[in-house]
Amino acid sequence: MKLRMIASALALSAALIGNVTLAPSATQAATLSGGFDVGPGGFQGNFNPLAATAGFTWLSVYFEPLVTYDDKLQKVVGVLADSYEVSPDQMTYTFKLADAKWHDGKPFTAKDAKFTMGLAMDAKSGSVLAARLKAVSSVEAPDDHTLIVKLSAPSASTLDTMTKVMMLPEHALASIPADQLAKNSWWSTSPIGTGPFKFTKYVTDQYVELAANTDYRGGKPALERVINRYFSNPAAAIAALRAGEIQFTYVDSNDVSTFKGDEAFKVIEGDSFVVNYLGFNHESPIWKDPRVRKAVMYAINRDAIIKSLYAGAAKPANCAYVADQLIPQGIDPYAYDPEKAKQLLDEAGWSQINGDKPITLLTYYTTPLATNVLAAVQAMLSQVGINVVPRAVDTPTYNSIVLNPKPDVAQFQLVYAGLQNGPDAGSINVGLNEKQIPPAGPNVVRARMPELNKALDAALAEPDAAKRDGRYQDVCKVMNSDLPWATLWVANRYGVVSSKVKDFIWTPAPGGGPYQAHPEKWSLGE
């Protein structure tokens, strides 16, 4: 009797579960779901491109900038600008705009572009780009299809910054005062862009849904809908990917191996453009002697860590860069040599400088991979007599410690951190130039190296694009010999996409891009 009851209850619940799973799948024929904001390039819950420090992979599915990177992140190409020209003195940028329409059917014109630039340059709007657009002296729209941006001094990173300026409709936003803009609900309820998909709805903390913009100037999108599911961590996104609920997500490198060789999935590998380093706090006296800093480089077996923890998918870095064109001839490769490290420490008198007193190694990386990396680093450094103690904290705690204008040096004698080193090679300036010492900027290691400042300034101000790589080679050379950081490596990052998805373009760009992903071409096969 009892058994029969249990059996029928089980049968009933199985029937219920079975029914439910069948129902939604029929409606999702042309819907691509993904964890587009999972991982370091994502920014879940942010809908405002002016406030975006990341999340551009998703934002650029419905908003568009004038220019963007190609999918290899090598060159800047036009999006809403059909073409652009830079004057020989690098002071005037002229954008020729495409014939495009907003999602509500109104035409996109140079007036919209000028309006957007105004918001992006105004810190009151909450724009995080304002500081980077400081060099802009004027923005003009002589006709509906031309935008002219003039600078007060040449700035090699202007185009890079322009890729992050998503065009916004003047007719929808002009009536809102700039300082009230960030608080407006327009962003998450009824935003309009010019991209291949248009915003339909946001279900708080669950997902964002976009529908095809059938009038898209690049052709009608192949998919009917794109859904961006929110996850509180990459592991939850992987579970949803394996369960077939989503077709794409970012995946941490230590989880990638489980997808390799599985025909149901394709692994997408790409350059993270983030250089990882051990940053010496230059306000701590223990790192003053360059021989000590060199000893740290020699003491760490980077090849072994890359091979065993990154499964080979990282390149050792001997300055901030790993790209061939930025590496000069004859820099020191700092091959693993613990004996040499010990010898350098002896010469410098390490036992007097610090000896085996514990040195706090602060980091905001809390992934299992980072924990393993730091355990390995700790063991390797202890073999030569440097006793580091890793301490992992969350990002706000890390920032509050390292960005403090009056820092407590004992809390971070060493940091394990990452900094964007491309696609614009000038990105590293903020972490190393003396002018960027907090509170002015994020030079958290407080590097004060005149030669390095000079090299960085010269590279940023170089008007001739052909000579710029050479300037960055000079930066690399100084970094390699003076060691403001012990540079470690540039690792690859991964996304995993279902094999059913066709023509899908994704790359693990810093901050999520933007780059040319052509969402209108994405499609789902059988």
Binding site: R229, A236, N399, G511
Partner: protein, 305 residues
């Protein structure tokens, strides 16, 4: 009580390293000092602490809990209120599962004392009490959602699909069942020991001596008295359930108070943390009150006022 709670949370938050602006800064993108101080003053973070607290309190008593810092376009009250429903649904379902499973297994264990059934229930209970919610959530997620595919891996509704109760239940069952484990285990243990104690009482012996059938002895005479301590435990497990719900909600991306709170702590979203803890605190007080009232209903010796 709520006032004390709000002062405590306010102070604890300000002692936590890092403020909302620190959480917002990407080390890769520089922001000028003027820009940072403008953001801080817009949020009122540059004012002295007592002023900040009183300003918050003044608004809070009128029912205005301010705006979220991270989701700047959303008032805290709306944000928190919209999360109560999903959390109550999740915790309520878990509580119902836990009460039914806990009482049934507890009674069976007590009646079949020292039998293999009792032993296996007791082992389950021990494991259930000792497993932290995040562990059982992750194991449950892997086994039932990823491996077996019986339930979705997260969320409350299928994205893009029309709302249906069946879809909601389908998403609810796994997190609710996992959340109920620790509570069910605790209830089972109390039920078992309390019933065993009652079964040794004189009046139970009297009932048996009168020839009352064993089923009625337990159902009518013993169970009601044995339930008293269990009700207290159920009331006190609500706190446990809130803690567990925070983990379950983050693992399953259930859009409730727990997920809201975790996200808010990660971004140091002060107004949301204050608002959410205040509402949770109020809920705990109400639940304790309800427990006391239930107690009076079950135990005739206690009379309300």
């Amino acid at each position: 009580m709520l006032l004390a709670l709000s002062v405590l949370i306010f102070l604890l938050l300000r002692l936590t390293p890092g403020d909302p602006i620190d959480a917002y800064i990407d080390p890769n993108i520089p922001m000028s000092p003027e820009q940072l101080s403008e953001l801080r003053s817009q949020l009122g973070l540059d004012r002295p602490l007592p002023v900040q607290y009183l300003a918050w309190l003044q608004q809070a008593v009128t029912g205005n809990l301010g705006f979220s810092i991270k989701r700047q376009d959303q008032p805290v009250l709306d944000l928190v209120l919209s999360r109560i429903g999903p959390t109550v649904l999740l915790m309520g379902s878990a509580l119902v599962i836990a009460i039914i499973a806990g009482i049934v297994t507890g009674v069976i264990s007590a009646v079949r004392r020292n039998s293999p059934v009792d032993l296996s229930f007791s082992v389950f209970a021990l494991v259930g009490i000792s497993s932290p919610a995040f562990l059982s959530a992750l194991i449950g997620l892997y086994v039932f959602a990823v491996r077996l595919g019986w339930a979705p891996s997260g969320g409350m509704l299928t994205p893009g699909a029309e709302f249906s109760v069946a879809d909601l239940l389908h998403h609810l069952i796994l997190p609710a069942a996992l959340l109920s484990i620790a509570q069910a285990a605790l209830i089972m243990r109390y039920m078992r020991s309390s019933l065993l104690e009652v079964l040794n009482q004189d009046y139970v012996r009297t009932a048996r001596a009168k020839g009352v059938k064993e089923f009625w002895v337990i159902a009518k005479h013993a169970l009601r008295n044995a339930l008293l301590p269990v009700v207290t435990v159920i009331g006190s497990t609500i706190g446990l359930a809130i803690g567990g719900a925070i983990f379950i909600e983050s693992v399953f991306n259930w859009p409730g108070m727990g997920l809201l709170l975790v996200n808010a702590v990660e971004t140091r979203d002060y107004p949301v943390i204050m608002g959410a803890t205040l509402i949770i605190g109020a809920c705990v007080i109400v639940v304790n009150l309800l427990t006391d009232i239930t107690y009076a209903v079950i135990d005739p010796r206690i009379k309300v006022g």
